[in-house]
């Protein structure tokens, strides 16, 4: 039986494709954007970071952007999520669509009364674990000052196994300026908390102009 060339190519491609597991090479990023208080004014910076992520992530990778609200453990806070197609051309289209959604969100952002970062982390971990990506990263665009509303319970151990946590643009509050130990203690507390929860790494990036590549574990 004679097999034509395109069939040959497709068979070879299928066989080769079956050899490796693509998921362990893919990345998944869950970005939490703080929308409380003064952080609504920083949304342009967040958009810039999202653009960087879109430019850096490859076909097969996943990205989700969510707001940090009064209670963030809900899918409703996810602005948009996408797993890029394996074909580069389709992935480019998806990135364009994602970008437009983020632009729309940035124009219509409302400040929240409280900041539930832990809820966002739990939600992010849930999403990232579902993607089964090889590298999972939660990016937190916030001052890391958690303020929980009445009735919001977050004082229990959380699970962040195999997830990198990157705190971005952790701005200093007025009180931090008066006593820098408050800022340093806050960061140390978060570091201890996420590492205890099983996170692989804790990274703080404040210089967004020069240190953006630290956000992702680039291959």
């Amino acid at each position: 039986m004679k097999i034509s060339l395109p069939v040959w190519i497709m068979l070879s491609a299928l066989l080769l494709g079956a050899c490796g597991d693509s998921r362990i090479h893919s990345q998944a990023v869950y970005m939490l954007v703080d929308t409380s208080g003064t952080y609504t004014k920083e949304i342009n910076k967040a958009t810039k970071i999202i653009s960087y992520l879109l430019a850096t992530l490859n076909p097969g990778d996943s990205l989700a952007v969510a707001k940090v609200e009064t209670r963030s453990f809900t899918e409703k806070d996810i602005v948009d999520k996408v797993t890029f197609d394996r074909r580069p051309s389709q992935a480019t289209q998806q990135k364009r669509a994602f970008k437009s959604k983020i632009e729309a969100f940035s124009k219509d952002v409302h400040g929240s009364a409280y900041t539930d970062i832990t809820g966002g982390l739990i939600q992010g971990a849930e999403y990232l674990n579902e993607t089964k990506a090889g590298t999972k990263t939660i990016v937190i665009f916030s001052d890391m000052q958690e303020e929980l509303g009445k009735g919001t319970v977050r004082d229990f151990p959380i699970k962040l196994d195999g997830i990198r946590i990157v705190a971005l643009n952790v701005s200093k509050l007025g009180t931090d300026n008066a006593d820098p130990r408050l800022y340093l203690d806050r960061l140390s507390r978060w570091k201890a908390k996420v590492l205890k929860a099983g996170a692989t790494e804790w990274v703080v990036v404040n210089d967004l102009d020069n240190n953006m590549e630290s956000i992702l574990n680039t291959r």
Binding site: L5, I9, S12, A13, L16, G17, C19, G20, D21, S22, I24, H25, S26, S51, Y52, L54, A55, N58, P59, G60, D61, R86, R87, P88, S89, A91, T92, K95, R96, K99
Partner: protein, 479 residues
């Protein structure tokens, strides 16, 4: 705990302990002198014999390998030379068939020209003028003994006739020469034609002569191979080295081409097989797929050249009947064209993907779109497409240097292996010789350690020798 001074007899007096130990050691070594000498000799002998044995085995192996290499080299070269001679004869046959079949016509034409020239030549031959009648009349007049006016009148008449005839003859002569010149002029094209024909024949003969010389050269080489001439073998080995170097260089250039080819299609292949699939930790499936395409192109090129009998790597293809071989050739060519077309389209897709990604990057960075350069911006795309189509065909010719590498590599590796074995054999032989001498050196070194007991022994022997001499002298004098 290990005590550093535990080996001393008297830890308080180290020097004394060492001295006693040295004396004891010396005594022990003196007592063990003979067996130790034996051990030294045996070990050195063992090493010498072993190295000599291995060295001899290596030399024998090298010689066997050389003979085998020689036979393989000569067989291959004989085959190549036979093919070359065959080709040359084929060429000569073609020349003879093509050119020599025209020879009878050419000869006929030449003969016709020669006949025409002969005729013309005959025509232009000088016709001697008939003897004038007045000569006999003049003779008669000269015989008249008496005369008067008659002879004078006769002579005057004759003079007049002569003048008349002379004028007529001269005119006739001039006319005749004019005609002959015309004939000679008419011969000019015939001469030119003859010259041209002879020139053509000469050229063909020169070509034939060159081919004959080439055949002579090949035949001489063939003879050399047949007689297993060492000069020919050396020339063939050197040729193999040169061949390998040249082929390797061409292969490196081809690899450069293949790399460019790979770069052209690796990105668009991800559109077909997915960009996120990996075979190993760092090996993308799309990269492997691109590599597979390139290797397939090279294979198709190999089959094409095999079926064209340019290369002979697969004896099965070479021994196929012509019809089957032609089919294979056609199939390989079609596959190659299809692959080239695929690659060309992939090159186009690559350009589109790159442009799309660039546009996305511009969108993400919110910069103004790049100004379009009109038809100028299409040049790289066209270049990529042309390269994508042409490179597979260029890659197909890799089969020629590959064959050369395959054949010459065996000879080169064989020669290197023989040289290595010989070198190793020499080193082992040298080691054996060194060890044979080394036994004596070790023996002497051992004796240096027990030099005092040996001196005592010598002194004792001398004393005993003197006593013996005295005893013998006494017994001799008594007798």
């Amino acid at each position: 705990m290990f005590d550093r001074n535990s080996w001393l007899f008297w830890p308080d007096s180290v020097a004394l302990s060492i001295l006693v130990l040295a004396i004891l050691g010396m005594l022990f070594l003196y007592a063990a002198r003979k067996p130790m000498h034996g051990v030294i000799h045996s070990v050195c002998n063992l090493v010498t014999q072993s190295t000599r044995f291995i060295s001899r085995w290596l030399f024998l192996g090298a010689e066997n390998l050389r003979i085998r290499n020689q036979s393989v080299l000569l067989a291959h070269s004989q085959e190549s030379a036979a093919t070359m001679i065959d080709r040359e004869f084929e060429r000569v046959t073609n020349i003879i068939r093509k050119d020599m079949q025209e020879f009878p016509a050419l000869q006929r034409k030449l003969m016709e020209e020669v006949t025409r020239i002969e005729d013309d030549y005959r025509k232009c031959g000088e016709v001697p003028a008939p003897p004038p009648e007045w000569v006999s009349a003049l003779e008669s007049v000269s015989k008249i003994k008496s005369g008067g006016d008659i002879p004078r009148k006769l002579l005057e008449d004759i003079n007049k006739s002569i003048q008349k005839i002379h004028d007529k003859t001269v005119a006739e002569f001039r006319r005749s020469y004019e005609e002959r010149h015309k004939v000679l002029k008419g011969m000019q094209p015939s001469w030119r034609s003859v010259e041209k024909l002879i020139g053509e024949m000469d050229k063909k003969m020169v070509t034939l002569n060159t081919n004959a010389k080439q055949i002579d050269g090949h035949m001489a080489k063939f003879e050399g191979i047949r007689t297993k001439d060492s000069k020919t073998e050396h020339a063939l080995t050197t040729s193999a080295f040169v061949q390998l170097a040249i082929s390797a260089l061409v292969m490196v250039i081809a690899m450069g081409g293949a790399f460019i080819n790979y770069k052209l299609i690796a990105l668009p292949m991800s559109e077909m097989v997915g960009a996120s699939d990996y075979i190993t930790n760092s090996l993308r499936t799309s990269d492997v797929a691109a590599l597979v395409i390139i290797l397939m192109e090279a294979s198709m090129g190999l089959f094409l050249l095999e079926s064209l009998r340019i290369t002979q790597l697969f004896p099965k293809i070479a021994s196929m009947d012509d019809r089957m071989r032609r089919r294979l050739m056609l199939a390989s060519l079609i596959f190659l064209v299809i692959l080239a077309a695929i690659e060309s389209s992939l090159a186009l897709m690559r350009d589109m993907l790159v442009a799309d990604k660039a546009a996305l990057m511009r969108d993400l960075s919110s910069t103004a779109p790049a100004a379009t350069e009109g038809w100028m911006s299409n040049i790289p795309m066209a270049g990529q497409m042309i390269m994508g189509f042409v490179l597979p065909f260029a890659l197909a010719f890799v089969a020629i240097p590959l064959e050369s590498v395959v054949h010459s590599l065996r000879t080169v590796l064989g020669v290197l292996l023989v040289q290595t074995m010989r070198g190793l054999g020499f080193v082992l032989r040298f080691t054996g010789v060194v060890f044979r001498r080394f036994a004596k050196v070790l023996e002497l070194a051992y004796d240096i350690l027990i030099v005092i007991p040996l001196m005592v022994e010598r002194w004792v022997f001398t004393m005993r020798g003197d006593t013996l001499v005295k005893v013998r002298a006494k017994s001799v004098s008594a007798s």
